[in-house]
């Protein structure tokens, strides 16, 4: 659990490694013959390691590139540059054909339990898809395997012939889990698997996921924007902001000593069950919106909204590194990390006013 230096190549327990992964999406230009192209900088130079058997939480605001990063890791999107190393082999340039056998080992559980199941197909056929695609089992054997999977995720196997519309959101998400489990994958990417569900149903699905993890030895990348969910399931957490990882730490260290002002602000926004306690707490209100990922701010990309911003933050981009007395696996990309007990809601930015103006909207301003 000690080494997090991304340069340290493929340690035995590292299942997935992302090296300097960059993903840009070209924008369709409005002008017909314009040669200039603009890009959405969805993921910018991300280094990440996922160890076998752990759950890595990935948090950040909507549009910060979490899902894009996950899809790059699963080879659903080709990366613009950088490397994706899965289970010891560099899959970055793998063709669709070479990728096929690996598809069994990397699976995704999607956010929307309504959109991720084809409404025109029966549940049995949806869950049986992996077997059909990889031509593993057919007929009665496939049906038996599918029903076993349904049982595994807590669905009634007799509902084999039903359509997705006849299930509730939580049950649908179980169907999605069953489909992902078909070949007992090495890595499951959970892309906000519970954010579309009721709180009580969220708990069931989270428990199902963790029970399956211990039973089958699964590795998860768990994407979420609900911090209490992430805290509950993750071993380590990475915080993303505008396509970059700004802080990465074991979950307890992250909650005890948030170093990045952004992490600090996020954690201060988590609702507390105790109203007395909640009243006493200082909430950090960030100024403005997330800037456009098309025109990314210079230096530290968080500087336009950061209460602790200094001129250095506008000019130079901070690198991920250990700060203060943290352990080696707690890294942060900030020039002026937050000290324990510091209240950044009292700080005022020391930068020019025009550097603080935030372009609002996600895709606006092109």
């Amino acid at each position: 659990m000690a080494e997090t230096t991304s340069a340290g190549a493929g340690g035995g327990d590292v299942l997935l490694e992302l090296r300097n992964v960059v993903k840009h999406f070209p924008l369709k230009s409005a002008k017909l013959f314009s040669t200039e192209r603009e890009y959405v900088h969805a993921v910018e130079d991300v280094n990440l390691q996922v160890r076998r058997g752990e759950t890595l939480g990935l948090v950040g605001e909507t549009g910060c590139g979490k899902s894009t990063l996950a899809r790059c890791a699963a080879h659903l999107y080709p990366v613009t540059s950088g490397q994706v190393i899965f289970d010891g082999s560099d899959i970055t340039k793998f063709s669709t054909r070479r990728m096929r056998p690996l598809r069994r080992d990397i699976q995704i559980i999607f956010q929307d339990p309504y959109g991720s199941l084809n409404p025109r197909r029966r549940v049995g056929s949806i869950i049986g898809d992996p077997f059909a695609i990889h031509r593993i089992a057919s007929g009665e054997e496939r049906k038996r395997k599918v029903q076993h999977l349904m049982e595994l995720v807590g669905l009634n196997p007799e509902h084999y012939n039903r359509f997705p519309a006849e299930f509730s959101g939580g049950q649908r998400q179980r169907i999605g889990v069953a489909r992902a489990l078909a070949f007992t994958p090495k890595l499951i990417i959970c892309d906000e698997p519970v954010s579309a569900l009721d709180v009580s149903i969220q708990a069931q699905i989270l428990n199902l996921l963790s029970a399956l993890q211990s039973e089958l030895g699964l590795t998860y990348i768990f994407i979420a924007h609900d911090l209490s969910v992430v805290r509950h399931v993750s071993d380590r957490v990475a915080v993303m902001y505008l396509g970059k990882i700004v802080e990465q730490a074991p979950v307890d260290a992250m909650w005890a000593h948030p170093r990045h002002p952004y992490t600090d602000a996020l954690l201060s926004a988590v609702p507390l069950p105790d109203p007395e306690h909640a009243l006493q707490r200082e909430r950090i209100i960030l100024a403005g919106d997330v800037p456009s990922p098309i025109h990314v701010p210079s230096g530290c990309r968080f500087h336009p909204r950061c209460p602790k911003a200094r001129p250095t933050c506008v000019s130079t981009e901070p690198e991920l590194g250990v700060s203060m007395a943290d352990s080696a696996d707690h890294v942060v990309a900030c020039h002026f990390p937050v000290a324990d007990g510091e209240d950044i809601s009292q700080s005022t930015p020391q930068i020019a006013e025009e550097d603080r103006v935030v372009e609002s909207g996600l895709i606006a301003g092109s």
Partner: protein, 331 residues
């Protein structure tokens, strides 16, 4: 900063994982497919069911036209110059011999209308099939593959829409009268079906392309890709079934349009050629005779055309409502 576990996670421990979330109604294990649900909704729609009854009646009439001709003893080509015409050579009105009167050639109008239904229905179905199949293939390719394939097909559609189809039909007809186009497309039915079918590609293709573009963004397509499904499998297993509902709706609404289109071509004299019975051609012929008081000759073929297109349209509307996702799912 404090970090109590939120209410959600506290609840988590209480719920057991093993507890299966079983649906309440155990009795119906077989799921109701969207098709079953749609047809159930359709069967509840009285207007559609009446229309369907009339459509079936028209189809039966068309099929049974020779039988009826045999019963009455009036062949569809037979001219009754003595009993079927007035001494002045005009058509005779409805009577016990000729139920709907006769036409300008002294033929039984009812028998002619029944034979005309064969042509109209055949052209309606055949040309619509050409339209829907061609448009679906092109639209699917354009939407699914995108890129330059999409651009080429889109330009092709623009080109199709830019051609004045009526003028082309007339021009092709005069060419085909000289010698069959490509050696086999002669004047009459083949040209009507090809012209009507071909020029519908753009509209169907654009609908299909739009649908494919929206389906392509659905998460279940991404899920299929994540499972390792190839493009053909995704196209036929995941995309096409979702297109069928709008296609069926469009098809039922396209048939009456095509029937009217075919009748219009016949009316202009570039469609089905005499002596084959055809409604458009009858209406054309009758409009010249109307001056002399033979109202039945104009009225009955027009009514046949009107009722046929009307019931197909009402039925098409009913089909669309039945497939409407806003409708109640559990009828």
């Amino acid at each position: 900063m404090s970090f109590n576990i939120s209410g959600a996670t506290a609840q988590v421990e209480a719920v057991s994982v093993a507890e299966p979330s079983v649906g309440e109604q155990q009795k119906t294990i077989q799921g109701k497919s969207p098709w079953v649900l749609a047809s159930r909704r359709l069967r509840r729609d009285r207007a559609s069911m009446i229309s369907l009854g009339i459509i079936i009646f028209i189809v039966v009439c068309a099929i049974a036209a020779p039988v009826f001709a045999a019963i009455t003893g009036h062949g569809n080509m037979t001219q009754y110059n003595t009993i079927g015409r007035t001494p002045a050579g005009q058509p005779v009105g409805p009577s016990s011999t000729f139920w709907l009167g006769t036409d300008s050639q002294g033929r039984d109008l009812l028998v002619r209308i029944m034979y005309g239904a064969r042509v109209s229905l055949f052209v309606g179905v055949a040309a619509t099939a050409v339209t829907v199949i061609g448009g679906t293939i092109l639209g699917l390719a354009a939407g699914f593959f995108g890129g330059w394939i999409d651009s080429v097909i889109a330009r092709f559609f623009d080109w199709l829409l830019a051609i004045p189809f009526l003028l082309l039909a007339i021009a092709l007809f005069s060419v085909a009268v000289q010698s069959p186009i490509f050696g086999f497309i002669g004047p009459g039915l083949p040209i009507v079906i090809i012209v009507l079918g071909f020029f519908g590609w753009a509209s169907v293709g654009r609908i299909v392309r739009g649908q494919v573009l929206s389906i392509k963004e659905k998460e279940y397509i991404e899920a299929a890709r994540a499972l390792g499904a190839g493009p053909w499998r995704i196209m036929f297993i995941d995309v096409l079934p979702n297109l069928l509902a709008p296609l069926i709706v469009y098809t039922t609404l396209l048939i009456p349009l095509t029937i009217v289109g075919a009748a219009s071509l016949s009316f202009l004299g570039v469609g089905v050629q005499p002596p084959t019975a055809d409604w458009g051609q009858m209406i054309n012929d009758a409009s010249g005779m109307f001056l002399y008081g033979s109202w039945w000759y104009l009225l009955f073929p027009s009514l046949a055309l009107l009722i046929t297109t009307l019931v197909f349209n009402i039925f098409g509307d009913g089909v669309r409502d039945a497939f409407d996702p806003r409708g109640d799912l559990y009828v």
